[in-house]
């Protein structure tokens, strides 16, 4: 027996005749939701950018041979002193090879794993960049440029040239931008390098690499795996590192444990390597939500206040509605629908304003040395935020409208009519 048309018509008339109060209440919601959308799009955009900065180029599992002391010293193998207390001084790390034994079979084994998106071999080595009589220490990493660009967004950090150019060149090098500046080199020039065991090689610069971390850019260069193997004079199966990228980042820890056990190698997962990162993200999200919720609660109190006032003003109307056959529930629905209309209009406007502001921020130039690929402020326009924002607007106005409308429901018409 609820006649929505009549109820909504009364609610509409109440709202329109009190347009000032109505718009004040709606504006409260609009600002709440608008700032929530703006904040959350901007903050998560920044979060994602910062995460990408580190996480995109970090392998989910990094496999290598660690130089470390033997876990079991020879004395513990000797049965005669088993029950004694042994002290070993000056433990030295165990002499082991840098290369991963059987690297190529391990890679093809990992590639078959359903969780693994890709396993890429790398060779890391120390070299000197030679400029006349000056030698500058540095790192040279042998990679598969195309695969690195595909899985670890290598392309984002190549400021001149491209991954393909490196792939197609037999003796090309992707030089760190810091070294290039120090030595005044440009693309197409040649650079002399020398591995630590001697020798001299001339490589052609096919591009520049800029990670955004200045210290790294001053030493790091990349070249093809084959080129490094030739420079070092090693065989084709000489691989020092394997970088694994997974489909699901949560699988990193179990997989790294498994690899350590199975191949007796060191395997570090991304969460262990970058634990502090997640903390920062969580705290930034927490701040965003705390601020937004506060704004919406303030807006909710505004609506509560205005509806309360309205109900006092409309005491006579409520009494006459009840006397002419509107039930308490009808009256409650009249005031509830007013609250919900305010919430709806304010919420939708808030979403629009939030969208506008976020888009505006997205066009503001934001250029920094550290982030070569970013030109404007990062914005993460996730539709989910709009859904959350809108639901929150409706929820807060529902709660703000519920108590006053409950009071209207309980008003005794006889008391009002006789009280005059």
């Amino acid at each position: 027996m609820i006649n929505w048309k009549v109820i909504l018509n009364i609610a509409k008339t109440h709202l329109l005749t009190k347009i000032k109060q109505t718009s004040t209440a709606a504006l409260g919601v609009t600002f709440g939701i608008g700032s929530y959308i703006t904040l959350v799009c901007f903050m998560t955009g920044l979060n994602m950018m910062l995460d990408d900065l580190i996480l995109n180029q970090t392998p989910h599992v990094h496999i290598y041979n660690e130089i470390e002391p033997s876990k079991k010293q020879p004395i513990s193998l000797y049965d005669d002193v088993k029950n004694s207390f042994n002290v070993v001084h000056s433990i030295k790390p165990k002499l082991s090879q840098k290369k991963i034994h059987n690297a190529l079979p391990i890679i093809s084994y990992l590639e078959k794993d359903a969780n693994v998106r890709g396993a890429l071999p790398q060779i890391k080595t120390q070299i000197f960049y030679i400029a006349g009589s000056i030698e500058i220490g540095g790192n040279l990493t042998g990679i598969n440029p195309i695969d690195e660009a595909r899985l670890f967004n290598m392309g984002d950090y190549i400021v001149e040239g491209s991954a393909e150019a490196l792939h197609n060149s037999d003796n090309g090098i992707l030089l760190g931008i810091g070294i290039a500046k120090k030595m005044s080199l440009k693309v197409g020039d040649r650079i002399q390098i020398s591995p630590i065991n001697g020798g001299n090689f001339s490589l052609k610069i096919v591009g520049f690499y800029q990670s955004g971390i200045a210290d790294l850019d001053a030493i790091q260069s990349f070249t093809n795996i084959k080129t490094v193997q030739r420079v070092l004079g090693e065989a084709k199966n000489y691989i020092t590192d394997i970088n694994v990228k997974l489909y699901d980042i949560d699988q990193a820890l179990p997989l790294s444990k498994k690899i350590e056990q199975q191949f007796k190698l060191k395997a570090i997962d991304i969460k262990t390597a970058n634990a502090q990162f997640e903390t920062g993200t969580t705290i930034r999200n927490l701040i965003t939500y705390a601020v937004s919720v506060t704004l919406l609660i303030v807006a909710g109190f505004g609506i509560y206040n205005i509806l309360n006032m309205l109900i006092y003003e409309k005491m006579n109307d409520i009494a006459i509605l009840k006397a002419t056959g509107f039930s308490g529930k009808d009256v409650q629905l009249i005031f509830m629908s007013q609250a919900m209309i305010i919430g709806f209009v304010g919420g939708v406007l808030g979403l629009l304003i939030g969208f506008g502001l976020a888009s505006l921020i997205g066009t503001i130039p934001f250029q920094t040395e550290a982030l070569p690929t970013v030109a404007t402020y990062p914005i993460n326009m996730n539709p989910l935020f709009f859904v959350i924002g809108f639901s929150f607007a409706m929820l807060s106005t529902f709660l703000a409208g519920y108590l006053p409308s409950k009071k209207a429901k309980k008003i005794d018409p006889v008391r009002i009519i006789r009280g005059q």
């Binding site: 027996m1 006649n3 009549v6 006397a323 002419t324 056959g325 308490g328 009808d330 006889v414 006789r418």
Partner: protein
Amino acid sequence: MIQLELLEANKMSVVLEAKHINKYFKKPVLFHVLKDINFQIRQGEFTSIMGKSGCGKSTLLYILSTMDTDYEGELFLNQKLVTNETREHLSYLRNKHIGFVFQFHYLLSEFSVLENVMLPAKKLGEKTLQEIEHDAMNKLKILNIDHLAKKRASRVSGGEKQRVAIARALINNPSIIMGDEPTGNLDSYNSENVFNIFKQLSEEQGLSLLVVTHDEDFANKTDRIIQMGDGKIIS
């Protein structure tokens, strides 16, 4: 036999009946307001309730109106027991069978005169909007205020407001119209006017009317006067 039939016919036309109604005010002290009230209102009867201030006549009216449910005894509307019905159902009964006219006009001031009259019918929802609008214009015509239909309720004069309130009370063709001092706030010209409208409705349309009043002239012109004193019906 004939007497029995007469009795039956009588009973058929009883619109409102109160049986052993008792009411107490519990605050500030326990006070017995209404003491064993029994009476009937038949169809087409124009009844007035008179009595001194505080004798409980308004209290009785609000019990009869089903708005006040805190009483002892039984109340019948169109021979159906309404005591202890749910509030929702009572709202429906008020909407369909009872029309109200109060001392103060109680129109919804933001709505037009026509909308005020249409509202109870819209709530009842038995007719289409066009039919309701047509009915409402008819009622306004009967009361000679059809020229005010589009005006805002807050913009018409006191006497006109009371006539709008009567039109609103009539819109669902109720079984009975109740009035709490409907002329109490009007000058003699307008109260005369309102009385004539009531009289006309009762005579021409067979409408029952129950009016609480202080106005002796008004009461003397009605079909029947219920005189109350100290919470009892005296005559």
